[in-house]
Amino acid sequence: MIKYTLQRIFYMILVFIIIMLMCFVLVRMLPLPVLPPDDPHTQVVEMRREAMGYNEPYLVQFWIYVKGIVTHFDWGISDKLYFGQDVWSIFKEKLPATVIVNLYSILLSIPIGIFFGILAALKKNTWVDYTISTLTMVVISVPSFVYAFLIQYLLCYRLQLFPFVMESGTDWLSPSMLRSMAPAVLALSFGVIAGFTRTTRAELTEVLTSDYMLLARVKGLTVTQATVRHAMRNCFVVIVPAIFGEFLGILGGSLIIEKIFGIPGVGSLTLNAINGPDYNLFMLSTAFYTAIGLAAGLVVDISYGFLDPRIRMGAEK
C-alpha cells in the first residue's frame, strides 16, 4: 500500500511538472506588457525580467523559474495588477476568503446531502424518494449561477435579508461577516448537497439489496441495526473518499460564485489575472488549480484503498 501511494505521489508530481512546463512555455510565448516609461518601478521590473531569463531558451527559463520556487519559494512579481508586489503574498492574502466560504458550505451541506440520500434510499420508490431524486436531478442540471441569481434576487433584494456582496476584511467570525457570506455559502451548498444525495442514494440502494443484508436480517438484526451496522459502513467506502475530495476542492472554490457575490478570494484573483493579464499571477493560479485537481484525484484513489481492502488488491496490477 505504501509503495503504491509513493508511486502515485511520484507520478502525480511528474504530471504536475509536465503540465506546468506546457503552460509555462505557452505563457512565456506571449508578448510582455509594456511598462510605463517614467515609472520608478520600471527599471526594477526590467532587471527582474532579465534575471528571469527572458532572453534565454524556454527550458532555461523554466529551470530558473523552478529553481526560484524550490529554493526560496519565489513565484515572481506581479507586473500589472499589483505592480511590483510579490505574487505569493498577494495570493496568500486571498486564500482565506475562499477557504472559509467553501468550508462553511461543506460543513453545512455534507450532512444534509447524506441525510437526504439515506432518506431517499430507505424510502425507495415512494413519493419521498421521487421528490428528492427529482430535486437532485434539477439542481445538478441547472448551472450554479442560475440559482445564485435566484438567491441574490429573492434573499438579498426582495427580502433584504443579506447584503449583496461579501464584506471586506479578515474578521471571519463576526456576525455581520457571517451574514454577508450567507448567500454565497447557500449558493455553493446546493450543488454539493445534490451531489452527495445522489451518491449516497445510489450506493445505499445497491448495498441494501445485497445478500449480506439479507443474511444480517436472517440472523435476527432489526432493520435499523442491519442498516446502520452493515449497510452504512459499506456505503461509506464511496462517500468518505468523496468527502476527502470535496475538502481539497474547497481550496479552488468557484469562480462564478465568487464573481457574483464579490468574494475577495482566489477565484476573483484568477479572473483578474486572466483579464489583466498578469502572467506571474496567472502561472501561480495555474499551478494552484492543477495541484488541487491532481491531489484531489490522488486522495480519493488512495482513501479508497485504505477503506476497502478489495480495491487495495487491485493496485497491484
Binding site: I18, P143, T270
Partner: protein
C-alpha cells in the same frame, strides 16, 4: 436419460398411442411471422416506457424548435438594437393600449409623491398615452409643516415604461425632418411635438417632458382650475424649418416644432411614435428587451442556436477522437495502453479554465474566437469518451465472438470497428447525449465570466445574455429570468433525456448514476 430409464419413467403410455406428425411430406423451417426487433428498436421501446425521459425529449424538441423558429418568427434580428429601450419589460401593443400590466410594459414605481404624479399626468396629457396603469396602494403620512398638520400622500403605482419615457430630444437633418413630416401626414401619428424653451421651464435642460410652467424643482404650477399652463415656444425666428404637418390641440399655428441647430434641427419627439416611424411598427417585445436593446425573445433564439450547434459540433469531434483513441488503447492494451493513458492523464490534469484562457490568448486572433474555443473543448473533452471506449473494449475483446472472428482471419481494424465497437455503441451514444449539456454549461459559464466573448461573432449567446442581465437583475429581473429559464430547462431535459437513453441501451444499469 437412457432408453431404459425413459421406459421406466413412462410405463403407462402404450406404444400405439404415439403417431407421426407427418410421415409423408417434408417439414421446412417456418419463416418467423413476427417482425424481428433489432438492438436499436429494442432500446427505443424501452426508452418509450420511461415516461420522464419521453417528456424530456418533447421539451427538448420544443426548445430546439424555439431556437430555430424564434429568430424567424420575430420581426427583429440580432442587429436590431434600440439604444433607448434597453432592459425594458415585456410589451405587446394590444395589451399596452388596454392598460394591462401583463405584457403592458409594466414596472412598479414605489412611493411616488403628488409632484411625480403630476409629471405622469403631464405626459399623459401631451402625448395622449397615459403611463399610469394602476395605483396599487396609497400611503398617508401625517407630517407637521410650519406648525400645521399636513397629510402627505404617496402612491405605489404601476407604470407603462414605454409610455413613461414620453418625449425625448432628437437632432435631425433637414431631410430627415421632412421625411418625418411626410410620414406624419400619411399615418396621422404625431412624432414631433412643439418646442419648449428651457428658459420657460426654469432652465431645466435635461427633462424634455416638461411643456408647462414649473418651479425650479421641476414641479408643475397649475392654474386655478388645476390645469397645466402650456409654455410652448412661438418665436418664429428660432424655428429650424417651417413646419407643415400635424399640430397639437390648442395650437393656432403659432407654435414652432423645431429649433435651429447648426446645419440641423432639434426637436421634441414622442419616442414611442418615433420608434413606430423608424421601424414601421410599434414596439413589440414578448420577453422584453436586453441590456443592448435587443428583443430578448429572438436574442434567446439566436443564443441558443449557437450554443446548441456548438455543443453538437464539440460532442461529434470528441466522439470521433475519443472512440479512435480509446479503441486503440483498449484493443492493443499493454505498453500502448500505458503510454496513451499517461498522455491522456496529463491533458486531463490541466484545469479547463486555464486551457480555455491560453487558447483564447494564443489562437483567438489567428483562427477566430469560436474556433479557438472549440479547440479548447476538444483538447480535454475527448478523454472521458476515450476512457469509456477503452473500458468497453477491455470488456468485449476477450469474448468468444472476437476469438471466432480472429480465427476466421479478420484484421485488427475489422475486429475493432465491426465486431467490438458496435457492442459499445449504446454506452457511447448515451455519453454523447450527456456531453452536450456539459458543453453548453461550460460555454455559458465562461461567457458569463468574460473569459471568452463569442457575441462579436454570433450576435449573442446565452452566457452573454445572462452576464448582461446580471448587472440589472434587480431593476429588470426579466433580462435574467428568461435566459435562465431557457438554460435551466435545456439542461434538465438534456440530462433526463440522456439518462433515459442510458437506461434504454443498458437495461442492466438502470437506476444507478455512474458514468
Amino acid at each position: 436419460m437412457t432408453d431404459q430409464q425413459t421406459r421406466e419413467n413412462y410405463p403407462a403410455v402404450a406404444k400405439e398411442k404415439f403417431q407421426f406428425v407427418s410421415d409423408k411430406e417434408i417439414i421446412f423451417d417456418e419463416v418467423p411471422k413476427t417482425k424481428a426487433r433489432g438492438y436499436f428498436g429494442d432500446a427505443l421501446l424501452r426508452f418509450q416506457k420511461n415516461r420522464s425521459s419521453v417528456v424530456a425529449a418533447w421539451i427538448l424538441l420544443f426548445l430546439v424548435l424555439f431556437a430555430l423558429l424564434a429568430p424567424i418568427v420575430s420581426p427583429y434580428s440580432v442587429k436590431d438594437q434600440d439604444k433607448t429601450y434597453t432592459n425594458y419589460p415585456a410589451y405587446i401593443p394590444f395589451f399596452g393600449e388596454r392598460g394591462m400590466s401583463l405584457f403592458g410594459g409594466a414596472r412598479i414605481y414605489d412611493s411616488q409623491n403628488d409632484a411625480s404624479m403630476l409629471f405622469w399626468r403631464g405626459i399623459a396629457e401631451e402625448t395622449g398615452k397615459d403611463p399610469v396603469i394602476k395605483t396599487i396602494k396609497t400611503h398617508e403620512t401625517p407630517t407637521r409643516r410650519r406648525g400645521e398638520e399636513v397629510t402627505r400622500y404617496t402612491y405605489d403605482i404601476k407604470i407603462n415604461a414605454y409610455y413613461a419615457l414620453g418625449i425625448v430630444y432628437k437632432v435631425f437633418t433637414y431631410d430627415e425632418f421632412a421625411r418625418i413630416e411626410e410620414w406624419q401626414n400619411e399615418t396621422g401619428i404625431q412624432v414631433i411635438y412643439p418646442y419648449v424653451y428651457p428658459g420657460d421651464i426654469s432652465n431645466i435642460r435635461n427633462n424634455p417632458n416638461l411643456w408647462y410652467q414649473v418651479d425650479e424643482k421641476g414641479v408643475a404650477k397649475l392654474d386655478e382650475n388645476g390645469a397645466f399652463i402650456p409654455v410652448y415656444a412661438d418665436q418664429k425666428e428660432d424655428e429650424g424649418v417651417p413646419y407643415d404637418s400635424l399640430r397639437i390641440k390648442g395650437d393656432d399655428g403659432s407654435y414652432i416644432y423645431s429649433m435651429k441647430k447648426s446645419g440641423a434641427v432639434q426637436c421634441r419627439v414622442d419616442y414611442y411614435n418615433y420608434y413606430h416611424y423608424l421601424n414601421g411598427r410599434e414596439p413589440f417585445y414578448i420577453f422584453g428587451t436586453s441590456a443592448m436593446g435587443m428583443d430578448l425573445f429572438s436574442a434567446i433564439g439566436y443564443g441558443a442556436r449557437f450554443s446548441l450547434l456548438f455543443a453538437v459540433l464539440v460532442a461529434a469531434i470528441n466522439m470521433a477522437i475519443g472512440i479512435l483513441y480509446g479503441s486503440v488503447q483498449g484493443y492493443y492494451g499493454g505498453a500502448v495502453d500505458m503510454v496513451l493513458d499517461r498522455i491522456a492523464d496529463i491533458l486531463a490534469g490541466m484545469p479547463f479554465i486555464i486551457v480555455a484562457t491560453l487558447f483564447q490568448i494564443h489562437l483567438a486572433q489567428k483562427v477566430g474566437v469560436v474556433w479557438s474555443f472549440l479547440f479548447a473543448f476538444v483538447l480535454t473533452g475527448w478523454i472521458s469518451i476515450a476512457a469509456l471506449t477503452r473500458k468497453q473494449f477491455y470488456r468485449f475483446k476477450s469474448l468468444e465472438f472476437v476469438l471466432a472472428a480472429r480465427t476466421l482471419g479478420a484484421s485488427d481494424k475489422r475486429l475493432m470497428f465491426k465486431h467490438i465497437l458496435p457492442n459499445a455503441a449504446g454506452t457511447l451514444i448515451t455519453s454523447c447525449a450527456l456531453v452536450i449539456p456539459a458543453v453548453i454549461g461550460s460555454e455559458t459559464s465562461l461567457s458569463y465570466l468574460g473569459i471568452v466573448d463569442l457575441s462579436s461573432l454570433t450576435g449573442t449567446t446565452l452566457g452573454t445574455l445572462l452576464s448582461q442581465g446580471s448587472a440589472t437583475a434587480t431593476t429588470a429581473p426579466h433580462t435574467i429570468l428568461w435566459p435562465s429559464i431557457f438554460l435551466g430547462l435545456l439542461m434538465i431535459s438534456f440530462n433526463l433525456f440522456g439518462n433515459g437513453l442510458r437506461d434504454a441501451f443498458n437495461p442492466t444499469t438502470r437506476g444507478t448514476d455512474d458514468e
